[in-house]
């Protein structure tokens, strides 16, 4: 009995000592990441994971990062986030649009834990949102696609009908149409972020129906693999550079670089300066990078695309600059008018010229 009490006391002392040590600033900050796909998808989740590794690199043993892959967007996500919070994570990045409500729900239960939700629009005292202006990259893709297509048909593999995806379609179409009035967009909604077989089938279908440029808003390299098998078809890396297709169909890419933001936010939690923000950065801060435009693109088109990138970097050009009408012909932006972030963030309509309906 006595022995046991002594042991307990010793344990308590040890505990006090260690927690004392923690308070001295040796405490490891535990940071959680919730991924929608696998870290080997070569696209969206791959880049988030690369940025997680950058956090590890930047803070060394002051930080411990944990992650969970392939978490479904729904009730399961709440379970995963709760688990992370219970296991001591003080900052949790939830990296897909569909985690929006789960993040808000779990955040309400853990007021001491900070949450960062990617691409959503709901915030709370301990929930920030962050996203990148991918539509800037889409503008470049649209320009190249419009110039390069010979069939005037551009295939677009869309994932879910959410504002981020719709913005991308509108931006790409706007800039393709501007340089090629005959251009036509064929859009397939895959209703998945990561399903290589379905993405490959979608790309195949679009090519069979005459598209010679494939744009994708899904996460894997499967569409590029299919494009590589069809001579004369080009595509773009999505979310990641997908550089392994540089010798083949990939002519450029949109790269999501989350590392600076993640490092920034981890530091803010360490310093106690974290507060709710709604970050939406683009080419200007480097959150959106445009991957190398390959030699498959003629020099003049490449120069135009690079000029556009530069204009967006300096803020001289906004991809959504009027005049732009909505699909039904009603005016949206007057001549010279620039879209406001609120409308862009909740964009749920096609612009004039696109055919078909957005699935509900």
């Amino acid at each position: 009995m006595i022995l046991r009490r002594t042991l307990l006391a010793a344990a308590a002392t040890a505990l006090a000592l260690t927690s004392g040590a923690f308070a001295d600033g040796h405490e490891k900050l535990k940071v959680g990441f919730v991924y929608v796909g696998s870290i080997g998808d070569g696209g969206w989740t791959y880049e988030h994971n690369q940025s997680r590794l950058a956090v590890d690199e930047a803070f060394g043993d002051k930080v411990e990062t944990i992650y969970q892959e392939s978490v479904p967007e729904g009730a399961d996500a709440e379970r995963v986030m709760t688990q992370m919070a219970l296991s001591g994570a003080k900052l949790i990045f939830t990296t897909s649009f569909g985690y929006m409500d789960p993040t808000i729900n779990v955040a309400a239960k853990f007021p001491d834990v900070k949450f960062e939700h990617a691409t959503g629009y709901k915030t709370a005292d301990n929930v920030s949102t962050y996203s990148a202006r991918f539509y800037e990259g889409r503008a470049v893709q649209g320009h190249i696609a419009g110039k390069m297509t010979k069939t005037n048909k551009i295939g677009y593999i869309a994932s879910f009908p959410i504002p981020e995806v719709i913005r991308g379609i509108n931006s790409a179409y706007l800039h393709a149409k501007r340089v090629n009035p005959d251009v036509e967009f064929n859009i397939i909604w895959a209703f998945t972020w990561e399903d290589p077989a379905k993405e490959a089938d979608a790309a195949k279908t679009l090519i069979e129906q005459g598209a010679d440029v494939i744009l994708q808003h899904t996460d894997t390299t499967a569409p590029l693999t299919v494009a590589a098998e069809n001579e004369g078809v080009i595509g773009f890396g999505q979310a990641s550079d997908m550089a392994q297709f540089k010798d083949g169909p990939r002519v450029s890419s949109i790269i999501d670089n989350w590392a600076p933001y993640y490092i920034d936010r981890v530091k803010a939690v360490m310093d106690g300066t974290w507060e709710t923000v709604q970050t939406w950065d683009g080419i200007d801060t480097g959150m959106v990078e445009i991957g190398e435009i390959t030699d498959r693109i003629p020099a003049d088109i490449k120069a135009e695309a690079e000029a556009m990138i530069e204009a967006m970097r300096t803020g001289a050009y906004h991809p959504f600059t009027g005049p732009i009408n909505k699909q039904d012909g009603t005016p949206w932006l007057a001549d010279g008018e620039v879209a406001d972030d609120g409308t862009l963030a909740g964009m749920s309509f096609y612009i004039e010229g696109l055919t078909g309906d957005i699935p509900q």
Partner: protein
């Protein structure tokens, strides 16, 4: 919408490619179930087949060896199931589920360094843009697709006409009687399970070597479960497996074609239609059975363990 945009020859050719992984996995599972074993690990064996086939093809540079690798990988995983269920008499349902989970995890680990690699291309009998409709549909494929079509026919012939088929069916319909006749129930089932694993592995390899072709974690995305449903859909008749797989593949490709051509039919209806058809067929089959129009097709011993002491 623009119907002219859909080229029927391209469409049928794509359906054949999309249906082949399902067909291969389903015909293997059919044989397994015919001997009275329910292996829910098809998804796991497929993904192991996908990764093993991919790695073999990349390392050897030969897609044909890739398929051998895929079949061996699927078969190896099924041996685990066979040993557990036949010798240790574990319950088949949880063992199969565990096999799926294990397969998904193990394949992700093994395949880590193979992400983003383009595998050697499986040669087609005829290829190119100038093929006419007949050539594209009948000749424009790789050898594995034709083998995939031949396997169900062979299985049908064996089950129906051969002594081996009779033994397999006997084990599945009444294992005690088969045992009493001197057949080694456990080993016959063992063999059937390994055949099923090899077929599932081939299906997975077809996915990673021909249909996509690349390796991505979890790339089967439920194809194994559809294969399981197909066996029931086909009411355990080998030739109906071909029909079922082509219906599933056909609708999956059709919905993409309709979308690309600007159809106004909501995507959701098209996406759910294969499953609605499955439920409809199941109801139809059980109704037919109830009114005595067709006999029960499920093997009587399905899912039941056998031990000689029973």
């Amino acid at each position: 919408m623009d119907w002219a945009a859909i080229n029927p020859a391209f469409y049928v050719a794509s359906v054949m490619v999309a249906a082949t992984p399902l067909l291969l996995a389903a015909i293997g599972e059919l044989v397994v179930e015919k001997t009275g074993v329910l292996n829910l690990g098809v998804e796991g064996m497929m993904i192991i087949g996908a990764v093993c086939g991919f790695i073999t093809a990349v390392e050897t540079g030969s897609p044909s060896l890739g398929f051998v690798g895929g079949a061996l990988g699927g078969a190896a995983l099924s041996v685990v199931f066979a040993v557990l269920t036949q010798f240790f008499l574990t319950s088949q349902v949880p063992t199969g589920l565990a096999l799926t989970l294990f397969g998904l995890g193990a394949s992700a680990m093994v395949g880590q360094s193979y992400v983003g690699i383009v595998p050697p291309k499986m040669p087609q009998l005829m290829s190119g843009a100038q093929l006419n409709a007949f050539e594209r549909i009948v000749l424009g494929h790789d050898a594995m697709l034709y083998i995939g079509l031949a396997i169900p026919v062979a299985v049908w012939a064996v089950l129906r006409f051969s002594r081996l088929g009779l033994i397999l069916r006997a084990v599945g319909e009444d294992h005690n009687a088969a045992h009493a006749l001197g057949y080694k129930v456990m080993w016959i089932r063992f063999g059937a399970i390994v055949f099923g694993g090899a077929c599932a592995g081939l299906g997975g390899a077809y996915l990673s070597l021909v249909r996509v072709p690349q390796w991505t974690e979890g790339m089967t995305t439920g194809a194994g479960w559809i294969a399981l449903a197909l066996v029931v859909f086909a009411s355990w008749r080998p030739l109906l497996i071909i029909l079922g797989a082509y219906i599933f593949g056909g609708i999956a490709i059709l919905q993409l074609n309709l979308q690309a051509a600007g159809s106004t039919i909501p995507v959701e209806y098209l996406s759910m239609s294969p499953y609605v058809i499955t439920i409809f067929v199941l109801v139809l089959l059980s109704a037919l059975h109830k009114y005595g129009i067709s006999r029960a097709q499920a093997p009587a011993m399905l899912g039941r363990s056998f031990h000689a002491s029973n």
